[in-house]
Symmetry: C2
């Protein structure tokens, strides 16, 4: 199945019935402006790895995949604002505030976050066994995850921070939603609740895998900010240096950053090997991990 | 019981364990900067009206009251930003972005919204019968409620809008969270789910009551923006005129706005009389309604 097509089609349904509202237009503009759709794609990969054929959970994976992309997109809209990273370009297009103004963009971000949370609760009204998956997504988006990382990021501007802080920043800002992508379909398939969350060896493996992938993704992002150009990247380049930001390149140097990228890729493959040994099909994830190393945007 | 004291004490626990984080500090600054606490106070009034003595639900009402105030506060932080209403003063203090900068203030708003949503799901993990109450709060904060009203508001700047649009704006922007305050304790006490939500006469009465209170509150707000001063009001005055905003004063004129305020107050009392006839104690709400007419800030 063409998952990318399914993702775009599902995202196109979001807030469609309110499309006369300018804030909804702004939210949809950012939501539908392309991108790699890494997080939703990973959700389908986990689903494929653990599901049988024609599993009825598939529609629910679609629902959660779109919801996670909404949370990711709201964070990009707010992150691009002049008072945050001040970016004009995102996914090759003008950023939301460049197109709609800052007030609408701020509200469009709020709207995507709020609507995502409504969805997380709405599905659990029908299927109570999903509430834990919903709760985890909300939690990973918050102070213990993405927002926590953003907060370290914004308070670290114009200074070089200690390595530990940079790892914590990355783990939360990028890593949390990637963990969410990797784990959510597994929760749905296994009706995971709080008790089974602690005991399940697969969950532990998937979390380690997500951590290596998240770190590899961020190191490559930092490398690309130095080595790429805006046309290829679809967003501004050289902004880490402009903002005097701590990155894995400033912290480790380019050679060591590349070496660390390689070692995270190797570790991710190592976890996949264990899962493969348990009988799961890890081909798609294995391809993705290799792509993360060579990706150009 | 001194509900105001309980509210302040409960709000002081929010994000306390993360108080070394600057974004959390900013969120707590706004959350703890006083205010009338109208919405939480109304939650206690509904609770008192329908609960027996020493009802075990009381702690949960406290939890939801604090959560609703978090949502209200995030909306104020974002609303005060220069790209939105551009206010320097809120509850008699510098606004969040004046104190912490716009980037942190934007993130602090996101944090309060996200944390509120985490709480709404966390409590339902323990008490699944509350999921409907949680979902309704999320929904009333979103495009069908507060954010929808904000969106009409921001797109109506610098023009006078038709009366119907202003009523819709108010109903959503202010009315939605007031409805949420009035209804939530009733949901908790009665374990309301989707089916009972449609059939319950008390819910219908409370929603009508909330609509009249919400409208009265907003008309009075518009009147105070013209007639009060910043010191009494705790926020800037005359900004509706500055921003050429449609308000109930510009739309109806001062005399008719006052008359409409009176008529909404009367209608709210009318609903309370029906509830009193059913045996419920409406004294506190009755006092509140009278206060809404004469309040000076």
């Amino acid at each position: 199945m063409d998952y990318k097509k399914i993702i775009e089609s599902d995202l196109n349904e979001i807030l469609k019935d309110k499309a006369e509202d300018l804030t909804c237009q702004a939210a949809r503009y950012s939501l539908l402006s392309g991108g790699k759709r890494l997080r939703p794609m990973m959700m389908y990969m986990t689903y494929d790895m653990f599901s049988g054929d024609q599993d009825p959970v598939f529609d629910d994976v679609r629902y959660y995949a779109a919801t996670l992309e909404m949370i990711h997109t709201y964070s990009l809209i707010h992150d691009d604002l002049p008072c945050m990273d001040n970016d004009d370009l995102r996914r090759g297009n003008p950023t939301c505030h460049k197109k709609f103004g800052e007030g609408i963009a701020t509200l469009a971000g709020d709207l995507l976050l709020n609507t995502a949370m409504e969805r997380l609760m709405a599905i659990a009204l029908d299927k109570p066994c999903y509430l834990f998956a919903s709760y985890r997504m909300a939690k990973l988006a918050g102070i213990n995850g993405m927002i926590g990382g953003q907060s370290i990021d914004i308070t670290s501007e114009n200074k070089q921070i200690p390595p530990d802080d940079l790892y914590e920043l990355q783990e939360k800002k990028t890593g949390a939603l990637i963990e969410c992508a990797v784990l959510t379909p597994y929760y749905l398939l296994n009706k995971t609740d709080r008790s089974s969350f602690e005991d399940d060896e697969n969950i532990s493996l998937l979390r380690q895998f997500a951590a290596h992938v998240g770190l590899a993704f961020q190191i490559k992002d930092d490398i690309l900010d130095v080595t790429s150009d805006p046309k290829t990247l679809g967003k501004s380049c050289g902004k880490d240096e402009r903002d005097n930001k701590s990155t894995f390149v400033t912290l480790l140097g380019m050679d060591n950053a590349n070496a660390r990228l390689g070692s995270e890729i190797d570790k991710a493959h190592g976890i996949l090997d264990i899962l493969k040994g348990k009988g799961y099909n890890t081909t798609d994830y294995s391809d993705l991990v290799d792509y993360l190393k060579i990706r150009g945007n």
